[in-house]
């Protein structure tokens, strides 16, 4: 188990390394004008711009910068932001926003798990019933219609009809979180319901369900003793990834409701050529991504005795 964990972690590290390097090099291909604000672009001459870039260490060749970056990272120095907040350590820049994104993401996650999974179960239990059709219509609507449209609808409803705050505020976290959390949860509810329903319906056609019926088990008993847990296994694999992605913040929602979270930071830091922030963000996202996959596998192995991650060793006769 330990050996496997170490091996997976090393593999993940490699993936993260490759991703960060690619993004790093791509960043250096970007025009450096993004490093300047519009005010600066109007007034600065080319020489002045060059001087500023040189002072920021952005004039060196990409590989020199890459070497410097990794050397610093290995020293544990993740660098400072340049344009998001000049001189502020990247960890703090990200940390501030991560907290907000995570809080909101967790709320949304809890809501969507509490609503989405029972919804999927109910749909599967009463397959082709009214509730199933309603639920399916909901999932179709959410999955098919572009998020921008559905968020706009929620925005209009929430702001115009319910008078909820249109923007996130640190003073009224509760009320101002309602709309963004609803938007976040809305999508994942549909996701969970859809997959839960699908996996359950899949399980219900399996042979062992027939055997359970032949035994004389009640539909309810079949549902709760057999189908539910088995349907949960494929869900389990994706759960950590969705969890990590949710706490990683949603760009669209956070932009829409001025939530100072991770999402806008990502595009802002790229837009502003804040290379250090981008790199560390990418490192963070990539780590969360590979971590999610790894945790998913672990979780699945915990639920499903058939899966032995170590390849051998689980053999007990």
């Amino acid at each position: 188990m330990l050996k496997y964990t170490i091996k997976r972690l090393l593999q993940s590290l490699l993936t993260v390394f490759v991703v960060v390097t690619i993004v790093f090099l791509l960043l250096r291909l970007m025009p450096t004008d993004y490093y300047f604000t519009e005010d600066e672009l109007i007034k600065l001459t080319d020489e002045q711009k060059d001087d500023i870039l040189q002072a920021a260490g952005l004039k060196d060749s990409a590989f020199v910068q890459l070497g410097r970056f990794y050397a610093a990272v290995f020293r544990g120095d993740l660098g400072t932001s340049r344009r998001i907040m000049n001189g502020k350590p990247v960890t703090e820049v990200i940390g501030d926003r991560f907290g907000i994104s995570m809080r909101m993401g967790c709320m949304a996650l809890i809501i969507s798990l509490l609503v989405g999974i029972p919804m999927g179960i109910l749909q599967a239990r009463h397959k082709d019933g009214v509730f199933d059709h309603l639920g399916t219509a909901y999932t179709i609507f959410i999955n098919a219609v572009p998020r921008l449209v559905s968020y706009s609808l929620i925005y209009i409803l929430g702001v115009r009809l319910l008078g909820l705050p249109a923007m996130y505020s640190t003073r009224q976290t509760t009320t101002s979180s309602i709309l963004p959390v609803v938007c976040l949860a809305m999508g994942s509810i549909a996701g969970y319901a859809l997959w839960m329903r699908r996996y359950m319906v899949d399980e219900m056609t399996k042979d062992y369900i027939k055997l359970a019926r032949i035994k004389g088990l009640t539909p309810r008993g079949i549902m709760f003793r057999h189908v539910l847990r088995n349907a949960f296994v494929p869900m389990a694999q994706n759960l950590p990834t969705t969890f990590l992605l949710t706490i990683g913040g949603s760009l669209l929602v956070e932009r829409f409701f001025s939530v100072p979270g991770m999402g806008p930071l990502l595009t802002n830091s790229i837009n502003r050529y804040d290379t250090n922030v981008v790199q560390i963000l990418v490192m963070l996202y990539a780590s969360m991504g590979v971590m999610g996959m790894f945790l998913g596998d672990l979780l699945m192995s915990a639920f499903d005795p058939r899966i032995r991650l170590t390849g051998k060793g689980g053999e007990s006769r």
């Binding site: 993936t15 098919a144 219609v145 998020r147 449209v149 990683g248 990502l266 963000l281 991504g289």
Partner: protein, 334 residues
Amino acid sequence: MTDSIQTMFDEMPDQGGRIYSTDALEQMTGDSEENLFSFAEYHPEEAERTGYSDYSYWKSVWRIFLKKKFAVAMVILFLAVFIFSFVALAIGKYQYDNLVPDNRQMFISPNREYWFGTDNIGRDYWCQVWYATQTSIKLAAIVALGECVVGVVLGCLWGYVRKLDRFFTEIYNILYSVPTIIYMTLIALMIGRSFWIMCITLILFHWIYMAKNVRNLVFMYRDREYNLASRCLGTRLGTILSRNILPYLISVIILRLALSIPSTIGYETTLSYLGLGLDVNTPSLGILLRNSRAYFLDYPYLLIFPAAIVSIVTVAFYLAGNAFSDAADPRNHV
């Protein structure tokens, strides 16, 4: 014991529980007893011909698909919208290419002159919406096709050539583990925004999902016996992929094609909203939606029309895709 057997025997379902008399038989068949109890001619070829099934995969797919009334209705609705987008441009009072900004005409709600009202600089919204509809559909179709072509070709290689597995898996990890928006932003800032750049970047980042899908299927079919047979017969890799495996992937490809259209349109609107979408000179529904974001609380019609059309298109393809995947599943061919 004999009793019960006897009862059973009497009640055996011999068309009414009696042994036929010769008369009855002759009456029933219009043939003589002699003839009836003579050997019939045996046709081995007839035997060979009996009982072959008239089952056809595609016929069944089609039949089940047509049964999904709602999906079919949505597809028809989509076609209607698509065709109408041309008609609409033709019958509209204004031509997209000759739109003139006019500050006396701005923000006019839909009326007889301006069927969808006017936008913030007083241009007819009707022709903009329909023009954008065409752009969006064109974009989605090109991206979907591109994704499929690239995804299928590389997915086949990924699935069939074991040595490439590690390589493609790593690519998948690289693309999957970070939000695509990072790459999209980088590219948009680096080489700009245009219809074709958008197409290519979307294909660039989305083929992998198609490829992964195809790869799993190829994996499944690769070691089927008929492929072993082909290998045994010395069939080349390309032929195996194109003749033996690809035909089995068609239903999946069509499904992905159909589902990739709503997702592309959704992606396009998101990117447009973030300012990473199409060039502003090429209005798409995403761009109109983004623009309307600034006005929709005052002038909801600027949101409603493009939003409705976007929803029709995406829901239609989503439903059609899912209906098709149901129909394509041989388990449902009952």
